[in-house]
Point group: C2
Chain length 263, copies 2
């Protein structure tokens, strides 16, 4: 199991690895605890944009996980920092619950579009407003909080932000800048907080492109779980991404990581 | 004006060439009449999918144009024929006014998705239903009635079907089959009805890709108008399509065509 050697830190995706919807995936609560007990540094690296980091943290604690808010890395805080740095005024196409994260950001007379996993906010009218802004303002930027194709909820698969970003890109001809996985800078933010080197860290996720491909592009190991949105026929022989390992679930992955540390 | 030589038939786009919204573009009513008076065969080749051909014909007559319903070629009737031939049961993401065209087509237990210019029907819920069908049914087909990026309404530019098709393609990984411009088979249907050869016919439209590029790919001349959705900086030096001519409007194009016939 060479993929699990010398692991001192683990980045964990949340949806599909720790939980499906509001339900913990069997063994995952204990798996996170076992990593910590073994002295492994844990960070939660997610493209979740329906909730603030605080809400997400509270939800995970309610389900039974032990973590703190500052261990979670999600796209919105990185986006807010970028908007401030570039002095941009966004038109926000994000979930209503995500809005508090953008408080204090000037949204008048917008000169860029920020798209998150907005679900029911994706109406024709709202998408068309964003499209018109991109067409009418020269050099208007389009930002996408992650670029996922879909995720799994309890009632089935759900379209993620990526499709809606693709719609705006196709109609406007403006290419989106991604903030979140699989962008390297996003993994870099989390790694920097772990104070470890790339060779000591691996990412575990259920998205072969955003989690595994993104991690590998960044230069850390990427491990795929067979939980969440995993679909064997699509993911086991993916044309572009070959995971360092595929494990049944987080618990099995952690078993191997910890057994390697014991050796 | 070699582009206008030996023209015995003209295919006309409707929106942006004849009219903007419900308003005739100045000179266009007379231009169509002058083509007919000069013995030029006229067909209306449109990606309009918000209305049936009958509604569209009635609307154009109300505005002042002279035409018959069977001179209009739009994607829905071609789609209906294709559904029957392949014995497919569609999930329809189309405008409510377009639904009557699909009467008599079995829509129970759908095994394909048909996307038109559905405007407000494009909700997250409806798009997600279509996405799930594409993910759950192996070999489910996705059809797009045209693939336009945008069109111009009186109040501004509007996202066309292409972006929403791109969203479903991105999320599901299923590639759409296009029914309508710029597909060659669609132009072929109209040409066959004109009983002319390719060298005798040209297409006039405001969409550089669907109208002009599509016509040229099919093997007829493609002329762009500066009305409708035309945007000089994007269309005059398009990276992929070079029109046979660019004219200010339909009236100017018809002037040249008729003057060439007189020579």
């Amino acid at each position: 199991m060479s993929w699990a050697k010398c692991v001192r830190g683990v980045m964990l995706d949340i949806s599909g690895v720790l939980k499906n919807g509001d339900i913990a995936i069997p063994g995952s609560i204990e798996a996170v605890k076992r990593l910590r007990d073994a002295g492994v540094v844990v960070r939660f690296v997610t493209n979740e944009t329906q909730l603030t980091c605080r809400m997400l943290c509270e939800k995970l604690i309610r389900i039974g996980f032990q973590l703190t808010e500052n261990e979670i890395f999600s796209p919105a805080p990185v986006m807010v920092k970028l908007l401030k740095e570039r002095k941009l005024r966004p038109m926000l196409l994000v979930h209503p619950r995500a809005l508090p994260q953008f408080e204090g950001i000037d949204q008048s007379n917008p000169n860029c579009v920020v798209v998150g996993d907005a679900t029911d906010v994706f109406t024709y009218e709202k998408l068309n407003d964003a499209f018109r802004l991109l067409m009418e303002q020269k050099r208007a930027s389009l930002f996408s909080l992650g670029r996922g194709r879909y995720y799994k909820e309890v009632d089935g698969l759900c379209m993620d932000v990526g499709g809606f970003t693709a719609a705006l890109e196709y109609a406007s001809g403006v290419h989106a800048e991604v903030v979140g996985k699989p962008e390297k800078t996003f993994f870099a933010t989390a790694l920097s907080d772990m104070a470890l080197s790339k060779s000591e860290v691996l990412m575990i996720g259920d998205d072969i492109v955003s989690d595994v491909g993104g991690a590998q592009e960044f230069g850390i190991r990427g491990v795929l779980v067979r939980t969440g949105k995993f679909i064997a026929e699509k993911d086991e022989n993916h044309p572009l991404v070959k995971p360092d390992a595929i494990v049944d679930d987080l618990a099995q992955g952690v078993d191997v990581i910890i057994s390697q540390r014991m050796d």
